[in-house]
Subunit: 364 residues, 2 copies
């Protein structure tokens, strides 16, 4: 397939940028956005970078009714010498197509999507903040736009990329959080959409999240939907436990999102010769490990927070305090290394970072 070139329409009236110290997650958006349309028969066409603007969309658009949508999340980082770089962006565009397959959305050209991300970041590179812990969050997403009220795959879609300069995702930062095991609500089940990045999984999670926050917890620990025994994810992150010197994470089973940060953590641990195993982990096993003193660490992993240490786990009346409620050594080392690589402060032995070339931005 011949690669399409991206049309660029530059904004004249640049927006005012928020100050670095005022940045909160996902509330401010940059000057431009990427948009590409899909029409049945014509395929994906007209890739364009245009001024950030509202969409004019029919109230009958299928996205409002039947939730056919997928999304991704990745970040651009400002290095100490002023360069801008992405972290494993090719993994995001690959996963977008995996999600597309599950949601019956036509696949995108991964090279074009990657090029769109790079050009958009280059175009708005002034928006990549430079203070500690800040970055430019990039949100590619696809929505079904056909105005039709029948349940069927849409014949029209929009692939859009928007970007938001962000501070830390959690107000607690890298400090440990308290989480609660969710026994009633289920995030996903084998045969469902749990391994795809689609809106319905997140909509489904809101009720449990609301209830756990009322009880004073930051996130819920999701159990599997079939036996309600095995750990799946924590909030919207993957999860790791260090038990008796070995790090354990739930194996990808069809209902767990294959996180890119998860994969990075696994590669790092293997690189460091830290024992790591992907397998089923039951909540009972965690409880017993805590009782006999071998539950040494726990942490979530995700693009937004990178690593979120778990200081306390609540399950059926038991408050399991982990590592005295402090950030563990592995959590810290993984966090420092991934963020070190992302910000160009540490060596990148895996070639995870991709530099954004400012001068390659317009290719008309």
């Amino acid at each position: 397939m011949e690669e399409q070139s991206i049309r660029v329409e530059e904004r004249q009236d640049k927006k005012e940028k928020p100050k670095s110290e005022d940045l909160i997650f996902g509330r401010n958006f940059t000057d431009h956005m990427f948009v590409m349309d899909y029409t049945e028969g014509l395929g994906w066409h007209n890739p364009s970078i245009i001024p950030y603007q509202n969409l004019s969309i029919s109230p009958a658009s299928m996205i409002f009714h039947y939730g056919q949508s997928v999304f991704e999340g990745l970040k651009a980082f400002r290095t100490e010498n002023g360069d801008v770089q992405l972290f494993r962006p090719e993994k995001n565009v690959q996963r977008l197509n995996q999600s597309n397959d599950r949601l019956v959305i036509p696949p995108i050209d991964e090279n074009l999507a990657l090029e769109a991300i790079k050009q958009l970041v280059a175009m708005d590179s002034d928006w990549v903040p430079s203070t500690e812990g800040t970055s430019l969050y990039i949100r590619p997403f696809i929505i079904s736009t056909e105005p039709y009220l029948g349940v069927a795959p849409s014949h029209y879609y929009k692939f859009i990329i928007i970007m938001s300069p962000v501070g830390s995702y959690y107000k607690e930062g890298i400090n440990p959080v308290k989480i609660a095991v969710e026994n009633q609500y289920v995030r996903a089940v084998k045969g469902g959409t749990g391994e795809a990045k689609t809106g319905g999984n997140y909509a489904s999670s809101l009720k449990a999240q609301e209830l756990c926050e009322k009880e004073g917890y930051s996130q819920v620990l999701w159990l599997d939907g079939v036996e309600k025994k095995y750990i799946e994810e924590v909030g919207s992150m993957n999860v790791f436990f260090k038990i008796n010197g070995e790090v354990v994470t739930p194996a990808l089973n069809g209902s767990i999102l294959p996180g890119i940060t998860r994969d990075s953590v696994i590669q790092l641990l293997k690189h460091w010769d830290i024992p790591l195993v992907e397998r089923r982990v039951s909540i009972k096993e965690l409880y017993e490990a805590h009782q006999n003193g071998t539950l040494e660490e726990a942490f979530g992993s995700g693009t937004a927070a990178v690593i979120s240490p778990i200081g306390e786990l609540y399950w059926e009346g038991h408050h399991l305090v982990i590592n005295e409620g402090k950030t563990g050594d592995i959590s810290k080392k993984v966090y420092d290394t991934i963020t070190g690589i992302q910000y160009g402060k540490m060596e990148d032995p895996f070639d995870w970072t991709v530099k954004v070339e400012k001068n390659s931005k317009v290719r008309q």
Copy 2:
């Protein structure tokens, strides 16, 4: 709560109406729509009937990313004497609030929602078609509109009602369809969102639907997500089986949508003293009933199709032909009675129909 009055902005340039014989499901929309906004702190406000138009909405709106949405579907019918009536609309607004609760969307005022439906139908009553089998499909829905990329309940929503004059939902009409048992994909699971009317359930269903159509079947028969043994729904309908003289439908278990047509079928069967039981039904039981000749009828029920007879059921290599592939007596009687009541041709012993008063439409 004091009831808010609905602001009306009438369209000047009326659209051309499609001919009755050209009507297809959910493709044409009437002259007006209802819109009401929700803002955290202010609540639901500014209920308005306005000309049917596109929405101008931020690409960061949460609906595009995290799928927080609910919807309903009901119909207005033209009776022989020219009146327009609704079928059990109060059940739809009640269920909308049940769905809202699961999706963490603030509840709507049910009286106001009902009034909005009535006024909108009255306003566009010329759009209610009059030929056999046609009706005006009404689609109330709520979407999360806050421009924010964090996973949390939205602080802004829109409650919208759009309407579409429709012919028959299935091109087969009341003719029996072939369906296939789905063994791989799952529609919903207990603890998920299966009993709510939210986009994610429908998005999740598209893949299995696509695969079954390739094999020549109209719909999939969904099994439970835990044991993959028990019948849940067929396509996006509830399902009934007549086994050895008794009608059986899956009991509402938390992952099955509480259908309004389902409830109407149950009430009718009880009214007619036809044995009816709500319980778990396994696919194995259906297979065995077919083998011993007691699987006498099967049909789906839903607002769009009313009743959809099942002529053949495919399961693990077995083609189970039901009632010689013909529409069964109960399917026919239920269909004739519900549509008879809907179109005002038959007595309405349950007070299911609600007349729309044309002259009460503007109340400023």
